[in-house]
C-alpha cells in the first residue's frame, strides 16, 4: 500500500473529473514570481507536501495574500525540522460555502469498497464518522454505482454530492485505490463543486497494471527511505527509532513484529523493523550489504540480532552472506547475536560459531542473549 501526497491525490481526483483548485508545486528555492501567472491572483493556500494526517495542526497549511508573504511562509515551512518534505503546493484560495466529505475505502471484512458521505467534512469529519453521522454504500468494485443509484440507495446530504461520489467510486475501482477521499469539498462562490483537500492510498501490488504508481512512488521514495528501500530491494527495512540500540536482520513480517514486541518487553529500544526475505538475498546478495549499510549509519544500533527461521529454505545456502554481514558489523564495533532455525541450522550455526559469533537455535535464548549484550554495551 502506498499513501500518496496531496498533490498526487488531487491529480488523481482531477483525472476522475472532479474540480480541484489550480496549483503549482514549489521547491525550497524555486522562483515564486510566476505563481500569479500559473495559479491566478492571491490569496493562495501554501501546503507542505507531507504524507499523513493533521498537517494543519502543526502549521503545514498557510493562507497568504502576496508574493512576499508566500516566500516568507514557504521559508518558514522549510525551516521547521519536524516534518520532511520537498515541495509546497501553492493553490488558488477557493472558499466553499459548506464542507463535505466523500470517501471510498476498502471494507476488508465485506470484501468490497464502501462509499462514505457526510455533510460534516473538514476537521469535524472524525467526530461525524465516529458517531455514525454519515451515509454509506457498499459496492462491488466490478460494478461501481452511478449517481442515480447512489441517490436512490442512500440519503445523500446534498444532491450536488452524488455526481462527485459516483466519479470517486468508479475511479477507485478502476485505479486500485484502497482509500480515496475528498475532504473537504463543497460548492464555491460560483456554485461549482470543488475539492480542497484529498487523500489517497493506492495498492502498490497493482503497479503491474497501474504504471502511473511508479512515478508517484519514486517521488515519495525521495522523501521516505523506507519506501525507497521497498522499491529498491523488495522486503522491508523500516527505521523505528534513530536512537534505537538493537538492530534487526530478520526474515518474516509476523516474526519481525514479534521481535519488536519482545525487545520492548525486555526494556530494549529496537532500531528497526525488518523482513529482508532470504530468498531475495540469495537472488541479490548485495541486499545484505544494503542492510548492513543502514545499520552502520546509526551509531546507536550497537547490538544486532540476526534471526533466520528458514521454512522450506536452508540456512546453509545463506550462511556465507550472514557471516560476511556479521564480520562487517563486528569490524565496526557492533555485537551480533545470530539465531538460526530450520533444516541444517546447526551446520550453518557451526560456520558462524567457528568465527566466534554467538549463535542460538532457540529464539527465546537469542532474545535473552540480546538483552544481556545490550546491557553490557550500555555500561
Amino acid at each position: 500500500m502506498l499513501v500518496l501526497l496531496e498533490h498526487q491525490a488531487k491529480a488523481l481526483l482531477a483525472e476522475a473529473g472532479l474540480d480541484v483548485p489550480r496549483g503549482v508545486l514549489l521547491g525550497r528555492d524555486e522562483d515564486v514570481d510566476t505563481v500569479r501567472d500559473r495559479v491566478g491572483p492571491p490569496p493562495w493556500m501554501v501546503k507542505a507536501q507531507v504524507r499523513g494526517q493533521r498537517r494543519a495542526a502543526w502549521g503545514g497549511v498557510v493562507r497568504v495574500s502576496s508574493l512576499e508573504e508566500l516566500a516568507r511562509q514557504r521559508a518558514a515551512l522549510f525551516e521547521q525540522r519536524q516534518h520532511a518534505f520537498q515541495h509546497v503546493l501553492v493553490e488558488r484560495y477557493r472558499p466553499v460555502a459548506n464542507e463535505w466529505f466523500c470517501g471510498v475505502v476498502l471494507d476488508a471484512a465485506m470484501a468490497a469498497l464502501r462509499l462514505i458521505l457526510t455533510a460534516e467534512g473538514g476537521g469535524p469529519v472524525d467526530a461525524a464518522l465516529a458517531d455514525g453521522r454519515f451515509a454509506s454504500l457498499l459496492f462491488d468494485p466490478a460494478a461501481p454505482p452511478d449517481a442515480a443509484r447512489i441517490a436512490a440507495q442512500i440519503a445523500v446530504p446534498d444532491p450536488a454530492m452524488a455526481d462527485s461520489a459516483a466519479a470517486l467510486c468508479a475511479f477507485a475501482a478502476a485505479r486500485d485505490c484502497l482509500l480515496i477521499e475528498a475532504n473537504p469539498f463543497g460548492l464555491d462562490a460560483d456554485g461549482r463543486v470543488v475539492v480542497l483537500d484529498a487523500h489517497c492510498t493506492v495498492d502498490a501490488a497493482a503497479e503491474f497494471r497501474q504504471p502511473w504508481i511508479a512515478d508517484f512512488a519514486d517521488e515519495i521514495a525521495r522523501l521516505d527511505p523506507d519506501v525507497a528501500w521497498r522499491r529498491r530491494w523488495d522486503g522491508d527495512f523500516f527505521v523505528l527509532d534513530n536512537r534505537g540500540e538493537v538492530a534487526l536482520i530478520n526474515t518474516g513480517a509476523g516474526a519481525g513484529l514479534f521481535l519488536i514486541d519482545e525487545l520492548r518487553r525486555r526494556s530494549l529500544h529496537p532500531f528497526n523493523f525488518s523482513d529482508v526475505r532470504m530468498a531475495g538475498i540469495i537472488r541479490q546478495p548485495e541486499r545484505m550489504d544494503a542492510v548492513v549499510d543502514r545499520i552502520l549509519a546509526s551509531p546507536s544500533a550497537r547490538t544486532v540480532l540476526v534471526n533466520i527461521h528458514a521454512g522450506i529454505g536452508d540456512p546453509l545456502e545463506t550462511v556465507h552472506l550472514v557471516l560476511a554481514a556479521a564480520q562487517r558489523l563486528r569490524a565496526a564495533g557492533r555485537t551480533i547475536v545470530v539465531r538460526l532455525a530450520g533444516r541444517n541450522a546447526e551446520r550453518a550455526g557451526a560456520v558462524l560459531s567457528a568465527e566466534h559469533f554467538t549463535v542460538r537455535t532457540s529464539l527465546r535464548e537469542a532474545l535473552d542473549e540480546v538483552k544481556a549484550v545490550a546491557a553490557a554495551v550500555r555500561v
Binding site: 503491474f208 526474515t251 519482545e262
Partner: protein, 291 residues
C-alpha cells in the same frame, strides 16, 4: 459438508497451477512425502510432464483428464486472478493461493466468485492436514503427529513456524495448519479457518496466531466466542508496538481509523474465552498446564 481431513484422505486429487516455477518444482518431493496426491500441473500453452506429473494448458483440461479437485496456486501475482477464476469455473473444491503480492481488488473478485470453492490465501505458506496432505510450503519437519495434536491457524507464516517449532519441541503434534495470510482481504478469513481446524477430529487444542490490523480477530471472537469452545483455544497476537497508519510487512497489518489495535483484539479474544499469550513458549507453557 464432509470434514476436510476425511475428504482429503478419500478424494484429494491435486493440481498445481504454476508447477514450472522453481520453488514449486523443488517442493514436489516434499509435498508427496506429506501425502499430497499430485495428479496434474497447469502451465499455459504447455503440455508434457514435469517429474512424471502431466501438464495441461488449463485447469479445465486437467480436470477432465485427471479429475483434479484441489489446487495449489503458485503463479505470479498478475496471473492469480485468472488462475483462481479458472479453478473456480472448473469446479474445484479447494484452492490454496501461495503467491505474495496479489492486488486487493483481485482478491475481492476471486472471493466474490468463489461459490462452492473453498479458498485459502493468498500470501501464505498454505495449509496442511497432518498425515493426509500438505497444500503449501510450511516446513514438513514441524508437521508431525504427537500424543496430543494441536491445530494452528495463523495470519503470519514465520510466526506460525515459531509456534509449531515450540509445539514440536515440547512433544505436541499438528492436526491442521492453516495460514490465512497477511493480506488485507484474505480469501479465507480467520473464523472460517478456525471452523475447519476445529472440524479435524484430531484437534485437541487450537492456536490462533494473530496480528494488529484489520478486525479478523474481533470478528472471530464475535462469531465463535461466548467462552464455549470444543477444545481449549490459545492465541498469540503481535504488533502491540506498531504505530497506527504505518504498515509493517503485511499489508493487512495496518491500523486504520482505530480499527485493528492490539489491546482491542486481546480484550475481545479473552472475552470470548481465548487464552492470549505473549510468546510461543508462554503459549505452549499454558497449553501444557491445561492439557
Amino acid at each position: 459438508m464432509t470434514p476436510l481431513r476425511e475428504w482429503l484422505a478419500a478424494e484429494q486429487r491435486v493440481v498445481i497451477q504454476g508447477i514450472s516455477g522453481r520453488t514449486a518444482r523443488g517442493q514436489l518431493p516434499v509435498l508427496r512425502e506429506a501425502g499430497t496426491n499430485i495428479v496434474a500441473g497447469v502451465v499455459p500453452e504447455r503440455r508434457g510432464e514435469i517429474d512424471g506429473i502431466p501438464l495441461f494448458p488449463t485447469v479445465a483440461d486437467a480436470r477432465s483428464a485427471t479429475g483434479c479437485n484441489a489446487s495449489i496456486v503458485t503463479v505470479p501475482p498478475e496471473d492469480v486472478r485468472s488462475a483462481c477464476l479458472e479453478a473456480i469455473a472448473a469446479g474445484l473444491r479447494l484452492v490454496v493461493v501461495l503467491t505474495e503480492g496479489v492486488p486487493v481488488l483481485d482478491a475481492i473478485a476471486i472471493k466474490r466468485a468463489a461459490r462452492d470453492t473453498l479458498l485459502v490465501g493468498a500470501n501464505t505458506p498454505g495449509m496442511a492436514v497432518q498425515g493426509v496432505a500438505k497444500l503449501g510450503f510450511m516446513p514438513s519437519n514441524l508437521l508431525q503427529r504427537g500424543d496430543v495434536d494441536v491445530a494452528v491457524v495463523s495470519r503470519s507464516g514465520t510466526l506460525s513456524y515459531e509456534v509449531a517449532l515450540e509445539l514440536t519441541r515440547r512433544g505436541y503434534g499438528i492436526s491442521t495448519w492453516i495460514g490465512v495470510g497477511g493480506d488485507p482481504v484474505p480469501l479465507l478469513d480467520l473464523a472460517g479457518a478456525v471452523r475447519i481446524a476445529l472440524d479435524d477430529p484430531r484437534t485437541r487444542a487450537l492456536v490462533i496466531v494473530g496480528e494488529v490490523g484489520g478486525d479478523a480477530e474481533e470478528r472471530l471472537a464475535d462469531e465463535m466466542g461466548g467462552g464455549v469452545w470444543p477444545v481449549p483455544v490459545y492465541a498469540l497476537v503481535v504488533g502491540r508496538a506498531i504505530s497506527p497508519e504505518r504498515p509493517m510487512g503485511h499489508a493487512g497489518a495496518t491500523i486504520r481509523g482505530g480499527v485493528g489495535l492490539y489491546d482491542t483484539k486481546v480484550a475481545r479474544l479473552r472475552a470470548a474465552g481465548v487464552r492470549v499469550n505473549d510468546t510461543p513458549w508462554e503459549l505452549v507453557d499454558a497449553l501444557a498446564r491445561d492439557l
